[in-house]
């Protein structure tokens, strides 16, 4: 279980990204984090594994306070937290297998990782994960030879190779097309359900969040302004999160897009006749 207690982050520029965020994510729960850009979603998940140093508060994973750890202990604890990124963040020139195995870096000594001599169990597990995400035939390809959706699957396999107790997912579908986005979200939710794994998912696509998340937290200007099941995410709640103007603009944008899509479909249908 993950507990955030009074977590705050003020950047050196004086800009406050998070103020006094208190949250609890129980085992197996997939929590969506929504909010306008600049609301602190990205900072929040990076404060958990301390890619960004929080200025105040506590982050409890189980009973370890991650904020107080020294460098070495922090590395040890990071192994327990898998992270999935917006632009996949695979090492492009390494093979798919090396990318998945890089999830084991925290567990093996330098010489093993340097010589690519990972323990047999790690390799077996990497193959198993690649099979799970449907990429076992691509193990020897370079990561930059894969499509966006495939790369994100490798990203998921890498995070799972860590044998994590928590997944941090940063805009997993922002660089993907709508269909692939749904496939990736489905894969993520299935995997979390299989392993009873809690996840925090930054997501800017509200309908996608409503479809796949068990719980939604709305962030605005670094503060939690909504916390509840997707069903409670009413127009009023969304207006609080995004502000009236932005929410209306977003909704309008969505409607326009839906209309354009319907239009295109109608035209294609007409052409087909």
């Amino acid at each position: 279980m993950l507990t955030l207690d009074g977590l705050s982050k003020t950047y050196k520029t004086g800009e406050t990204a998070l103020s006094d965020v208190t949250l609890e994510v129980p085992k197996g729960q997939i929590m969506g984090l929504i909010g306008p850009s600049g609301a602190g979603k990205s900072t929040l998940i990076r404060c958990i594994n301390r890619l960004v140093e929080p200025t105040q508060g506590r982050v409890l994973l189980g009973d370890v306070d991650l904020v107080r750890l020294g460098k070495r202990d922090l590395r040890r604890q990071r192994r327990r937290i898998g992270m999935i990124f917006q632009e996949y963040s695979l090492v492009e020139r390494l093979t798919v297998m090396e990318n998945v195995l890089s999830g084991r870096l925290g567990y093996v000594p330098f010489w093993r990782s340097f010589l690519r001599k990972f323990p047999g169990a790690d390799i077996q597990r990497a193959y198993q994960l690649l099979d799970r995400v449907g990429l076992i035939d691509h193990a020897d390809k370079r990561a930059d030879a894969l499509s966006g959706g495939q790369r994100q699957r490798v990203g998921i396999a890498r995070a799972l190779a860590q044998d994590p107790e928590l997944l941090l997912v940063d805009e997993p579908t922002a660089s993907l097309d709508p269909k692939t986005s749904r496939q990736i979200m489905r894969l993520l939710t299935e995997i979390c359900a299989e392993r009873d794994l809690p996840a925090i998912v930054n997501i800017h696509d509200v309908p996608l969040a409503q479809q796949f998340m068990q719980r939604i937290v709305g962030l605005r200007a670094g503060r939690v302004v909504f916390d509840g099941p997707p069903a409670d995410l009413t127009e009023a709640a969304l207006t609080t999160i995004y502000g009236e103007e932005d929410w209306n603009a977003m909704r309008q944008g969505d409607e326009e897009q839906a209309q354009a899509e319907a239009d295109a479909r109608a035209r294609i249908a007409a052409l087909a006749q």
């Binding site: 990124f85 695979l90 890089s102 999830g103 330098f110 340097f114």
Partner: protein, 268 residues
């Protein structure tokens, strides 16, 4: 407006000095300075005429290169130069990799960064010939001084370009490896090395090429190699042998150029 009403001419607006008067004044000033500066260069036309004669002998030597009569000296100089080039490039690159990593702002702590950047600055600010003169004075004539000179120059070149390249890598790949709990060494090995390796290999090949050319130059100040042979030949007015040496140098540089560009293309 009808189409005829639009103007038919267009001039690019001035980008740097917007005032027309200032532009003209500047142009006049530059021309005036050039005229005056060239006026101060003293030319001894008599000497130029003599030089032309020598130049002609030189060109004739070039046209009838003599590879045979000094071949043993040329062969010795060449093998010295090639040995010097290869060893100094390998040693220089091996030393510059840790310095380059240390001189990358995004990887090294502040103190290490400044130390490594100073090493690079010292190595880059001293021209090869100056180092060669100094090292020849220290270690005596011969290829050892040349080897040290080229290694030293290689460090500044490779370490600086490597460090600059490391500073421009994609930071999200580094972030991803950091998030797995990897150590600093693993981070460099997994997230940084794959991103900079093709460029490092390309730079090393390029440096090999430069080192060969430099080996010919520093030989003139006594650091051994083909440059020393060339210097001797010119001192003895044996322009036909000098021509042969120059042709060999040009040929080898062309081979190195073609070979390294082919290899670099292959590595991308």
């Amino acid at each position: 407006m009808s189409p005829q009403d639009y103007p038919t001419t267009w001039r690019r607006p001035p980008q740097i000095v917007r005032d027309k008067r200032w532009r003209i004044a500047l142009q006049i000033g530059i021309v005036l300075y050039l005229v005056l500066a060239i006026g101060t260069v003293e030319v001894d036309w008599n000497r130029v005429y003599q030089g032309l004669e020598r130049g002609q002998r030189f060109v004739m030597g070039f046209l009838q290169p003599d590879f045979t009569s000094r071949w043993s000296d040329i062969g010795k100089g060449l093998s010295e130069s090639l040995t010097m080039t290869l060893t100094s490039t390998v040693v220089g690159v091996l030393i510059s990799v840790p310095i380059g990593v240390g001189a990358a702002r995004n990887l090294a702590p502040r103190a290490v960064y400044y130390v490594c950047r100073s090493i690079i600055a010292v190595s880059r600010s001293l021209q090869e010939i100056i180092i060669a003169i100094f090292l020849v004075a220290m270690f005596g004539f011969g290829p050892f001084a040349g080897f040290l000179t080229l290694s030293f120059a290689t460090i500044g070149f490779i370490a600086k370009l490597l460090a600059d390249d490391i500073e421009e890598i994609d930071p999200t790949q580094v972030e991803a490896i950091r998030a797995t709990g990897g150590s600093w060494g693993q981070l460099v090995n997994y997230a940084v090395q794959p991103q900079v390796m093709p460029r490092l290999i390309g730079l090393s090949l390029y440096r090999l090429d430069i080192n060969f050319r430099e080996s010919a130059v520093i030989g003139i100040v006594g650091a051994g190699g083909i440059g020393a042979t060339l210097n001797t030949a010119i001192d003895r007015y044996e322009y036909d042998s000098a021509g042969a040496i120059l042709l060999i140098i040009i040929g080898l540089v062309m081979v190195a150029e073609y070979g390294s560009s082919y290899l670099r293309k292959f590595l991308q």
